[in-house]
């Protein structure tokens, strides 16, 4: 490093005058391009520089200087402009978390997944008595509270859904078995009046081990685009 530094100093000393003079024109170009509200063409730039200056050569030099910087000098539609380096485009985005309430349909579906897991979409629909849109399940997958467990050993081999650890965390449950049963739901006044015969609330289990009637997921299952990127609105 010491040697390197020294070399630089020598280099710097040698053509100091030339450097300084060049710098002035480059400074002008820099300032013009920086302050401009739109890309500038070479003619406009040339008008602000001393006569006889090779604008294109200067621009090329400036472009070279900025090539490895966070901002690059680029040519668009024949005009010149400074732009954020394309590999740093991520800097120009900001994530923000917007609290959003789950829709009624999504909450219902989630509760059915919680109590009845492993459960297929058809089973969810059967219990809810209404068609469940794919969007609703996508939203639930996006929350991270519901996951694809496996596939039911049944015609069509439908995917089975279950809840995740994040589900327990979010709802403050120590274990899935802590979800209240029928008596507790009644006690809480959530189920009122006579309960039809045969009405039962299952004792839920989110044991990750696949059930006898479940097959493991197949390699492609998780990449089906089932997990939406963001901002998915449901139904």
């Amino acid at each position: 490093m010491g040697q390197v530094a020294e070399m630089r100093v020598i280099v710097g000393d040698r053509d100091e005058t030339e450097q300084t003079e060049r710098a002035e024109e480059l400074r002008i170009l820099e300032a013009l391009l920086f302050a401009a509200e739109e890309p500038l063409d070479e003619k406009t730039l040339g008008e602000r520089l001393p006569a006889g200056v090779d604008v294109r050569a200067l621009l090329n030099q400036l472009q070279h200087e900025y090539a490895c910087r966070g901002v690059n000098l680029v040519r668009v539609a024949g005009k010149w402009t400074l732009r954020t380096a394309s590999d740093l485009a991520w800097l120009l985005t900001r994530e923000s978390h917007v609290p959003r309430k789950l829709s009624r349909a999504a909450i219902e579906t989630l509760s059915i997944v919680a109590y009845h897991q492993p459960v297929t979409r058809a089973e969810i629909e059967d219990i809810r008595g209404v068609t469940t849109s794919k969007g609703t399940l996508d939203v639930l997958l996006e929350t991270g509270w519901v996951r694809l467990r496996g596939r039911r050993k049944a015609p069509g081999r439908p995917v089975t859904y279950g809840t995740t650890e994040a589900f327990l965390t979010h709802f403050g449950l120590e274990a899935l078995a802590d979800l209240p049963g029928l008596d507790e739901l009644k006690g809480a006044g959530l189920i009122e009046g006579a309960v039809p015969a045969g009405f039962a609330v299952p004792v839920p289990s989110d044991d990750p081990a696949l059930r006898e009637d479940e097959d493991p997921l197949e390699p492609g299952d998780l990449d089906l685009g089932l997990v939406p990127p963001s901002d998915r609105t449901e139904q």
Binding site: H97, K101, E142, L179
Partner: protein, 279 residues
């Protein structure tokens, strides 16, 4: 403005005003308006003394100010009250400065008052000087410029889903309960309602049934095994309801024996009561 007037004793506005006056324009007011109030006028007069404000003679300044006001009056210039108030105060100050101080004066001494005035003038002078320096700084949009094409930061909104355990449980309970009741009431399943079934059999066989345990069989064949107890229960409940209404008779030989049902003398249509035997 009189700021550049040279002669301390002879105020410049005389010469400056001579011309517009000659042109028949009463432009004298404009001249006074060139001052930003009596302090400004005093400051201008003080500058004409060409000395440091710290060493200024307040007495001389008061004289000049009063002379200026006198001139203005002669020319019938309209002066704002502020200027006249200052003139009165300066006249008072002058008299105090010229008279020997009483041994135990009440309130501030003439010296104090003069110093206070000098201090005020210095403060205004300083503020003006630094205001000028401030304005001479490179100003944004005048001398220096920011990025002409700022690149906006795009905001990606990630939803943070919220739901409470109460939401979850009440939704579950409500849905299950609704579903269970719907199940009892609505015949829109793949099975026929018992009423429909009875009607169909009547049409097929051509007879109406007497003391028939038929519902047992209908349930057996038309209802999904898991649903049978529910259907049986609701069917029984509906039957009892019809009995109470006097439209059906039931007969059971022993506990848990098959239940026989027949229409009463004035037979009601089977389908008349929509609550009957849904399956």
């Amino acid at each position: 403005m009189n700021a550049e007037a040279e002669n301390a004793e002879e105020l410049s506005f005389e010469t400056e005003l001579a011309e517009p006056a000659a042109a028949g324009e009463p432009a004298l007011v404009v001249d006074v308006e060139g001052f930003e109030g009596p302090l400004d006028l005093l400051l201008t007069l003080a500058r004409q003394q060409k000395v440091d404000l710290a060493k200024i003679s307040i007495l001389a300044l008061a004289d000049q100010y009063l002379a200026f006001i006198e001139e203005a009056r002669k020319l019938r210039l309209e002066l704002a009250a502020d200027y006249l108030v200052m003139a009165a105060w300066l006249a008072y100050l002058k008299s105090r400065l010229l008279l020997p101080e009483p041994p135990a004066p009440e309130g501030p001494s003439a010296e104090d008052m003069a110093n206070a005035l000098a201090q005020r003038l210095r403060r205004l002078e300083a503020i003006r000087q630094f205001a000028e320096q401030l304005l001479n700084r490179p100003q944004l949009g005048r001398d220096v410029f920011g990025r002409g094409q700022p690149e906006p930061i795009a905001e990606i909104k990630r939803p943070q889903w919220t739901a409470t355990l109460y939401d979850l449980l009440s939704a579950y309970a409500a849905r299950r309960q609704t579903q269970a009741r719907t199940f009892v009431r609505m015949p829109k399943r793949s099975v026929w309602s018992l009423a429909d079934a009875r009607e169909a059999i009547e049409r097929l066989i051509g007879v109406s049934f007497d003391w028939s345990p038929l519902d047992q069989y209908l349930i057996e064949y038309l209802v999904e095994p898991s649903q049978r107890p529910t259907v049986l229960a609701s069917s029984f409940a509906a039957t009892l309801e019809l009995v109470r209404e006097g439209r059906l008779e039931v007969n059971q030989h022993a506990a848990f024996a098959p239940l026989y049902v027949r229409a009463r003398a004035q037979p009601a249509e089977n389908g008349a009561a929509p609550d009957v035997g849904n399956g």
